[in-house]
Amino acid sequence: MNCFRSVAAAPLFALLAAPLLAGCMETMAQGMVESDMRARSASLAAQGNPVLPTAEQRAATAKFESQFAVFGTDPAKLELDRATPCALAPEKAFEMLRGVSHAEFVAAQRAAATSTITMLTDLKAVRVGLLSGQCGPDGPIGPAILVGSYRDIMRISVNGAPHVTVTNGVARVEGVWINGKRDGAFSTVQMISSNQLSAGQSGALQEQVHDWAYLNEITNSPTAIYSYDEFHAGKPGRLSVTFSRNPVSGIYSTMVSERLDDSYSIMTNYSGNRLASEQRTKNGKLHGWLVIQPSVYNDIAIPGRRICYQNGEEVKALDCPSS
């Protein structure tokens, strides 16, 4: 619709013009937001990847850059359909694909659930196969490239009305499995995209389609997540570097996670090539300062801030030990 021509054509119908104008204002505002977001995304893309502080971390960046050149953000390039199916029990297939047991994953989902949030994973949607290597009863044997798909569901109830996000993921996992456990260096490329469902007039869930096309584009565009980790007999190692990219929604984040010992970790996050935040954890819970660096959004300076956590709980404090 041409807003200005339509409004100009309705001067005799003032009552009609008012809502039309309101609609136009909304469209114009949406256009401005979309334009800003696309410009921000382009700006982050132009920054390139961050220069990480250690040689080991920079090696992960180099690996990411070579893999991203091949797979980009296209799930089809992970070649799930070309994989040789691996006949595993669903729970075992889930563990091989996601690096965590189904029972642990479900327990974590339940722990994070509240009276208004339900989180589930659809075991029936799990499908795995091999692009290279050999599959045994406990999963891949030795070096292999495993690909598979999964589906997670999250329902948020707002005043009793369900809003459901269905996340469909395709993953390509490359590494060495010994006795059904990950061992050594692993690279994982995941592409996730989501569908949003809400209750229709009948109460049944139906796909939510926004009037604003850009929102639909963001919802449906895949986010590519490239992770480089170490494992020792199935247990995570010291360093993990993850790169997330989605040019449509402007995700250009890089996260470096270093385990200091069995209890403590440090996570450093970058947006584009700039340091965005740093946080520390103790036994998996935030512990110490969460430091958010100053940033600029649409030429508006957003000041940095820091939030203290102790064993996962936010605390207002001036000193915030991380030990």
């Binding site: 009276s115 208004t116 339900t118 589930l120 659809d122 029936k124 949607a125 589906r151 569901i153 329902r155 109830s157 707002v158 005043n159 009793g160 369900p162 459901v164 269905v166 569908n195 469902l197 049944a204 869930l205 139906q206 796909e207 102790q310 709980e313 936010e314 605390v315 207002k316 404090a317 001036l318 000193d319």
Partner: protein
């Protein structure tokens, strides 16, 4: 895909129903129907008639029947930025159904905001209760809350409270200066920034709270040791400890069963929580300095002393003393520091020095 998702969600709901209500489901839920309305507040401000019912605050993420609410007594607070009096929480419970309850004494600190939606911060000295029965004594702060909307209480350390006091005082002083400049008055207010703020406010909040003595001592000791370091807080500590021993007889103390709540199940929860002094105290605020500085209670006399601060907030405290002269100076000292009347800090310290031989009225 939609069919699979619907099936899984239905299965999860059926599983949850089969398990029956969890321990959290009935915790202070649902939000009581008897709600305080604007007319109740007006009656309170005009005639001092305490509102009855619950003051519901809107939480956009929750259904109405699980909105958080305050139940208890109210006090009049002067909102310096709005230049009018408002009703604020005094003693009682801030309940977040199925999640947590914050019980104790509330103080309100106005912040600059819209006249339609008064903004300010709440400081609570009291206990946080959880549905699993865990309770924790501490200082909690909900900053920059907007009237009518949910409060986000976060545990605060004593040093943070001290810093909050400093920032609040500076903001109020800056606002007052701006107002004065606008009125083209000749009063010089610039001195306020140059003064060193001394501890006083936090100790008074802790001391005048209705917490049981043991909890109050823990908080007071943590406050003095965290904020002042060794040696400086003797007088304040004796003020806190003096107050700690003198609150058992207050009729509307939420911790002694003196208050009767409509919040579902709260009366029995409180009884359970108060089974033992110091139950479940933990976290930063329970870091107790070893070798507390409490003065021997038998050597001191004690007076109940009530006062209202010029910027709002009423306190009733116990002032320990040995001589009448020192007691009078100590009352002035406590009021001045509790109300943060920084222009008078030097004066009351001189009075204490003269009457008690100590700048903080320690005898």
């Amino acid at each position: 895909m939609i069919d699979d998702v619907t099936r899984l969600l239905e299965q999860a709901d059926a599983q949850a129903s089969a398990q029956g209500p969890g321990p959290a489901d009935g915790f202070l839920a649902p939000t009581p129907a008897m709600r305080i309305v604007d007319a109740d507040y007006a009656r309170f401000l005009q005639a001092g008639i305490q509102p009855t019912g619950v003051a519901v605050r809107d939480d956009l993420t929750r259904p109405d029947h699980l909105d958080p609410y305050f139940e208890g007594t109210f006090k009049v607070v002067h909102h310096v930025y709005l230049e009018r009096k408002i009703a604020s929480y005094d003693k009682g419970v801030y309940a977040i159904p199925r999640e947590a309850a914050y019980i104790g004494n509330f103080d309100y600190f106005p912040a600059d905001g819209s006249s339609y939606a008064p903004k300010g911060s709440f400081v609570l000295v009291g206990r946080k209760l959880l549905p699993d029965g865990h309770s924790e004594t501490g200082i909690y702060i909900a900053e920059d809350a907007i009237a009518g909307f949910a409060l986000n209480f976060v545990r605060a350390t004593p040093d943070y409270l001290k810093d909050f006091e400093r920032r609040h005082t500076q903001a109020v002083a800056a606002f007052e200066r701006q107002k004065q400049a606008e009125l083209e008055e000749e009063q010089a207010a610039g001195d306020l920034f140059g003064q060193v703020l001394a501890m006083g406010f936090g100790a008074a909040i802790i001391g005048s709270s209705d917490l049981p003595s043991f909890d109050k001592l823990q908080l007071g000791q943590a406050f003095v040791s965290d904020v002042l370091g060794n040696g400086d807080g003797t007088a304040m500590m004796s003020m806190v400890t003096g107050m700690a021993g003198a609150t058992g007889g207050i009729d509307d103390n939420p911790f002694t069963g003196g208050m009767n709540f409509n919040a579902p199940g709260l009366n029995s929860i409180l009884q359970g929580a108060m089974g033992g002094a110091g139950t479940g105290s933990g976290g930063t605020t329970a870091r107790v300095a070893s070798g507390g500085t409490a003065a021997p209670a038998g050597a001191l006399k004690q007076d109940r002393y009530s006062f209202t601060c010029p910027l709002g907030g009423s306190h009733t405290i116990s002032v320990p003393y040995k001589t009448q002269a020192c007691g009078a100076a100590a009352k002035d000292f406590a009021r001045t520091y509790a109300c943060n009347l920084i222009d008078d800090f030097a004066k009351v310290q001189r009075q204490c020095q003269q009457a008690c031989g100590h700048p903080q009225c320690a005898e």
